[in-house]
């Protein structure tokens, strides 16, 4: 069986695609943090990204491939796992398996739904809450757009819930990546698990900080 059909091969593909997405999530958070500098920060950052032209599309295509492969195999493997464990125990006590680990498919699907919404929201900008305009320097005013949107409690809540799902996904996912790649040992296992959880928490809470800062008025128009 090939890498694309075998049980271990497909996990390796999931691990690589998942970890590349983690790298994206790190860079994206760093970029987004420029909102704390104010309109000059994030508007300049956005304009810089858009000036990359065709590279933006190359990048988007790569992301699409990563999400598709990862999501497809994630659903496929989960269905196989359910079929392999058809009967459940009357008493089911787990000594080690965690909530985050056992719900990867649900947190993954929440993140997938969120990605669709997020692209329609801030990339295609087709949702009714969007405030489009330009700032004093003539750039697209990302700052005002984001702040106006997140001042709607419901929209901020969608983002917060999705980022909690991402946090849980990576809480299990980052250490899982190292195990699937075989990049660990008995000695490093514990540190990798703790390190992965810390990174997941920093990423999740980092993203959540933006809608929360807007809701409580630290960032405003």
């Amino acid at each position: 069986m090939s890498l694309f059909t075998s049980t271990v091969g497909r996990k390796i593909i999931m691990a690589i695609t998942g970890q590349l997405m983690v790298l994206f999530v790190i860079v994206h958070l760093l970029g987004n943090s420029s909102i704390f500098i104010g309109p000059n920060g994030i508007n300049a950052y956005a304009e810089h990204l858009h000036s990359l032209g065709p590279l933006v599309w190359v990048f988007r295509l790569i992301m699409l491939v990563l999400v598709s492969l990862h999501g497809w195999f994630g659903i496929q493997l989960t269905l196989e796992n359910k079929a392999a464990a058809t009967t459940t125990y009357a008493v089911n006590r787990k000594l080690k398996a965690s909530f985050a680990g056992e719900n990867m498919i649900w947190t993954g699907l929440i993140v997938l739904a969120f990605i669709v919404y997020h692209l329609l929201h801030f990339t295609a900008r087709v949702t009714p809450d969007i405030v489009a305009g330009t700032d004093a320097a003539g750039r697209y005013d990302v700052y005002t757009m984001v702040v106006s949107s997140f001042q709607h409690g419901a929209i901020a809540l969608i983002y917060i819930v999705a980022m909690i799902a991402l946090l849980l996904h990576l809480f299990h996912g980052i250490q899982s990546f190292f195990q699937t790649m075989g990049w660990n040992s008995e000695r490093s296992q514990c540190r990798i698990t703790t390190g992965g959880r810390v990174v997941a928490a920093i990423l999740g809470l980092g993203y959540i900080a933006i809608p929360v800062s807007i809701l409580i008025g630290i960032l405003n128009k």
Binding site: E80, G101, E102, Q179
Partner: protein, 251 residues
Amino acid sequence: MSEHKTMTLTLNVWRQKGPNAPGKFETYTAKGITEHHSFLEMIDVVNEDLIKAGKDPIVFDHDCREGICGMCSQVINGVPHGGQERTTVCQLHMRKFKDGDTIYIEPWRAAAFPILKDLIVDRSAYDTITQAGGYTSCHTGGVPDGNALLVPKGVADYAMDAAECIGCGACAAGCPNSSAMLFTSAKVAQLAVLPQGQAEAKKRVTSMVDAMQECGFGNCSNHYECQAVCPKGINVKFIAKLNREYLKAQF
């Protein structure tokens, strides 16, 4: 504690007449159990009562009763082998329970381990995996000199830790995905580090992984439940080793 103090326990045991029969829990009372009874001896006591009453005894697998054969296979209160660290069912003692306890006893549950009767499952899927590559091919003949093939102590210890697996099946039974990765990885890792096993390492890992999948076991999600329930404490580092070997075999 007094030698004569006995316990009375309520058992909810999975009874199933055959592979295709529906199966259900039956409740029994275990009387006169002392802290010195092993778990299997406790069931022996119940079975004697059942036989005397003209009823079908509870059918369960066992052989050595000293924790080395891997036959005893029961999920006790939701945990394969009962949840005492590095302990098989036969080595679990009733001093871990107290008078009046209610205990649930179920067979291994995994699509690849069909139930034959009551608590006995067919674990030949593990044999199928082993037959796919859990061996080394060599010419027989004169016995080689003991020191003809040097194996460093660290490597020998590593292989020995992996070789401790008794093939009991608890890893797949405890796994939320019914994955056989811990068992398979123990064999793959043991042979991959030894000079005798290295020649066939690539073929072994791919064949055994394929066999595992074909037997109907699930995929490993790195929950590590297997290590927690393994009576021999087989470490999930061997799964990482299998993954490394699998990647190597791609090139």
